[in-house]
Amino acid sequence: MSEPASKTNGDLLRVQELTVQFPSPAGVVRAVDGVSLRLRQGERTCLVGESGCGKTILALALLRLLPPGTRLSGQVLFQGVDVLRLSEKAMRRVRRQGMGMIFEQPSAYLNPLFPAGWQVAEAVRLSRGGSRSAAKRRALRLLDMVRIPEAGKRYHLFPHQFSGGMRQRVMIAMALAKDPRLLVADEPTTALDPTVRLGILSLLRECLDETGAACLCITHDWDAARSLCDTAAVMYAGQMLETGPADRVLRTPRHPYAQALRQAMDGRTPRPIPGQAPALTDLPEGCRFQPRCVYSGGACATVLPPLNGGVRCHNHQ
Amino acid sequence: GQNGVLNVGGPWGPKTLDVHKSGYVYKRLGVIDNLIEVDENIKLVPGLAESWTISPDKKTWTFTLREGVLYHDGTPLTAGSVKSSLERLQRVGSLLKDVPLQSIEAPDDHTLVLTTTEPFAPLAAYMAMGESAPLAPSSFDESDEIIKPVGTGPFVFESWKPKNEVVLARNDAYWGPKAKVAKVVYRAVPDAVTRLAMLRAGDLDIAQILPPDAIDSLEQSGKFTIMRTAIGRCRMMGLNMAKEPFSDIRVRKAVNLAVNRQDLVDYVLEGVGETATTLYPPMVFWANENVQGFPFDPAAAKKLLTEAGWVDENGDGIREKDGAPLHVKLVTYPERAALPPTAEVVQAQLGDVGFDVELIVVQVDAAEAMAKQGKHDMFLVGRGLLFVPDPDYNLMKDYYSTNALAGGWGAYHYKNNKVDALLLEGRAEFDQTKRKVIYDQIQELLMEDSPMAYLNYYVNVDAVAKDVQGYRMHPTESSYHLETVSLPD
């Protein structure tokens, strides 16, 4: 963490061959399988992909928040330091100022016995220190920023007294409280209505612009992703399938899976991708999308294609 | 023992200030004096009454009071005040309820005359009880309630915490030898371990009634004098004569022979106790020294049982008669610590001669209730013999046929006309030597009939800090003689 920036080549985050596995009764779950990722200072990447493909696990691994018993390998270099090998204390410093996380489905992630506003203020104090009243003031401002109506009055309410969307916004406020260098946002707008979503997205954008922070945004909302992010990555069954500039990847994806995903809700009628994602305990040998792929053929079923030119597909030269 | 204060700790605490309801605490502590006192042999000696005479019809008692005795409030002791004190005792207390007292008169300041409806020799002993001690009128308020006990004793009552503590000061105007310590604090410490610890820590100068196991280590420390005082209490087993097997005198005798009394003293009481031969311990004037008691003779016991028809037919170690095993219920209570282990050893000892003893250890009230209903075969109790320091009191209750048939703590369903007659005779006999003969006879008869098995006598263990002198426990526990105790300067 204290490494000079020069050594990191301007890379804020560099994930190398990260693998996360869970032992489970049905076999080992390979939730993240050799994922590499690079994020420069201030870069915003979105991570899209099939539900259950390992996005959240990847994000949790970055902050080392996975439950005990998880098998982790690979490297997560944050500001040049391998987060996975940091001491607990140094890791705390990273979490306090370096990385912030917005959790998906945040109801369980808020402590039910503390006022929501208080929990935001706590995040403020942990990252910046300062007096309680200053923290409270900032927490109130943050709640206002994330458009919690009557933030002042709601400061003292408990999470169960908030609506689903409000809880998500409290979560966002909490992550923003510490002005992180890297913001990991796991589905930050799923529970928000269009108008609020718009507001939150512009808020995120403003914040990131202002602080120059980088962002890893996991989302199913491609429009939001496109508006917020510079680069995009598509994940499938624990692996990266495609990476590249957000605009390109999200508008004209090259990987067949990304293409299919792109079209799924485009029209009036939903168009699901036929077939099912493979079980993570029992992954196919070759390309993981092959069973559902309309272009499948040749080596697809037997040889795992490498991530070549930002696309993991045999049919893509 | 700091600043001339003597700290005494015993297991029981003062529950009330009202001497007429319960006087033993203040008697023991020397707050009150009685008309008649009891000496160490349980003989009656003059106290506040210099002398007393009994009329020829044996119904009128005339006490001559000592002159120059002052109550703690400075007023002189007069026959009038004794009379009013006794009258209040009649009203509120229970001591005189069974005494056929007819009148109390005070013809002059130093003469007190008590009349009874019938000759009642034990009356003098009643006058030695704490409850009957004279109290100054200033002890009571207008509504006849106690304010504090104002007696004539060597110590003046100063203050108390109910059930916890009594504080006394020396009575400098005492008529007899004055106390040596200026102040006494008596504390009730129910737990023996605490008492011991307080003694060791110097919080107590005298710790009373300690468990025998503690003696060794106390003696080893060299800082304490251990006092062993035999007191007028006896551990004994009443046998239920209302039914089999103890309706048969041979079985009763067998029990008496099968019990190894020395083992009980050695192993249960750690040697602190005396084996019993008769009801009264030998230091008591009333004890019949000629009664030899039963030896430990299991062979004789077995023989008696066989004679009585109890034979072990099936070889299981338990005797049977007509197919019914020799099964007996031994009831006792845990409030007196030595009783349950005593019962256990007795159980084993009786087992050796072919009894099958079932032990029932229940809280004292329940035990008594069982005994009253005759649900027991043996009732193991610790019995105080000298609350009223006269044999009549206990013997009447425990062995006089109508009382014994009604149940109670003595010989259950015991009836011996000779004993009954002797008891009545003893009650009406005023000559001490003649009475002694009567009660000796009774003890011999009891030995013959064996309605009870007397096991052992109590010995109190008190520990006194080495530098404290002159402490003596009275065998009736009626006085601690604190007035003779001295502390180092």
């Binding site: 869970f22 049905a26 109506p149 609506s163 969307g165 108008t195 508006s227 009628t269 699901p272 099912q276 | -």
Partner: protein, 399 residues
């Protein structure tokens, strides 16, 4: 204005695609019997997206779920019940309201739902869209009979919801919870969770286990998930478990509170087409709550736009989307996709949320930020006025 709009819509009506079973009674958002319009409001083609009509093209999705064929319920009886005339609406809600008091002294009063009425006919879908925190979940819980309303009444299949025997009600009315994470019993495995509803309603372990593959298929889950507990699943997997649970009983009404929010587009698509399939086949009615207008478009017959605890606009989905009447509806539609990139209108909404609560107690929830607002708007809540066949709006300025 009202008239003009109505005219436009009237002209439009003929273009709508008919739907099988269009003779079904109308879904209406107002209390009382439905108006006599027999036309069905299926989503029409719009310029955006080349996708063919869903009725025209079979989707390559797993075979529709036939969970209850195996005897869990008497299908014949159900069908009979459903075809009997006159058929009561599945759910009819009259003027329900709910107020929460919070804070140490219970001084923070939130009127989560105010005077909401709705009815859903069998086989129809009513979508509720609206601002986050406007009371949708609360409304859903009220309708599901999980929350006691302060005012108004909820009738399920013609009978007060509280009068229903528990088992029967829950067999026929199911709810999918917004909070997928919290609404799954953490002590159970996915398998137990999936079996739970069927087991509760009396089918045997073996019988219900047979259906597991079907259920997994329907929501696109793999069997390796079965032995896992909720905390060992991804957000989307949990949500799908919740969905499969609700659908497994083949209820008549499903109250779905953001059932697909945390799913990726392709799974969303799969699930929505499944839901449509069910509706077509079994005549399930949905109360569908979502923020995602694209999914609403795909599923809803009628839409209710909610703001500050009240319905501000109701009407056939197609009409409302094409021709929003209420200023808030317009804001909402503007905010979708294109708006993101333009950053448009975001600032216009700045204070909207803050204002909503204050106004909610007296006037129009939107009063303080509405470009059309007049003094009157802040003082009194306008009433829901019908202005076109089946449409109604709660705004004095537009109708």
């Amino acid at each position: 204005m009202r008239y003009g709009r109505g005219h436009v819509r009237g002209a439009d009506a003929g273009n709508r695609t008919g739907r099988p079973g269009s003779a079904h009674p109308q879904t209406s958002l107002r209390p009382g019997p439905a108006p006599g319009h027999g036309r069905q409001n299926a989503p029409a083609h719009s310029g955006a997206g080349p996708g063919p009509d869903r009725s025209a093209r079979r989707l390559p999705v797993p075979a529709p779920l036939r969970l209850l064929r195996g005897g869990l319920c008497d299908r014949a009886a159900t069908a009979e019940r459903r075809s009997a005339l006159p058929q009561p609406p599945v759910i009819q809600v009259d003027g329900v309201g709910k107020t929460f008091k919070a804070g140490l002294l219970r001084s923070h009063v939130t009127t989560a739902v105010r005077d909401v009425s709705l009815r859903i006919e069998p086989g129809k879908t009513l979508a509720v869209v609206g601002e986050s925190g406007c009371g949708k979940t609360t409304l859903a819980r009220l309708v599901a009979g999980l929350l006691r309303p302060d005012a108004g009444a909820v009738m399920f299949a013609g009978q007060t919801i509280t009068a229903w025997p528990r088992k029967q009600l829950r067999r026929r009315l199911q709810m999918i919870f917004q909070d997928a994470d919290g609404s799954l019993n953490p002590n159970l495995t996915a398998e137990e969770l999936l079996l739970e509803p069927m087991r509760l309603h009396g089918s045997s372990r073996v019988q219900s286990r047979e259906r597991l593959p079907e259920m997994l298929d329907m929501v696109g889950l793999t069997p390796d998930l079965l032995p896992r507990h909720p905390h060992e699943m991804s957000g989307g997997q949990r949500q799908r478990i919740g969905l499969a649970r609700a659908m497994s009983l083949e209820p008549e009404l499903v109250i779905a509170d953001e059932p697909v929010a945390s799913l990726d587009r392709s799974v969303q698509a799969q699930i929505l087409s499944q839901l449509n399939e069910f509706q077509k086949r079994d005549g399930v009615a949905y109360l569908y709550i979502s923020h995602d207008l694209a999914t609403v478009r795909a599923l809803a017959d009628e839409v209710a736009v909610m703001l500050g605890g009240v319905f501000v606009e109701t009407g056939p989905a197609e009409d409302v989307f094409r021709n929003p009447a209420h200023p808030y509806t317009r804001l909402l539609l503007d905010a979708v996709d294109e708006g993101i990139h333009a950053g448009a209108r975001a600032s216009g909404l700045e204070n909207q949320a803050a204002a909503n609560q204050a106004a909610a107690n007296r006037g129009c929830p939107l009063a303080s930020v509405c470009p059309l607002a007049s003094a009157n708007c802040t003082n009194a809540l306008p009433s829901l006025v019908g202005f076109e066949p089946n449409r109604a709006v709660r705004c004095e300025r537009v109708c």
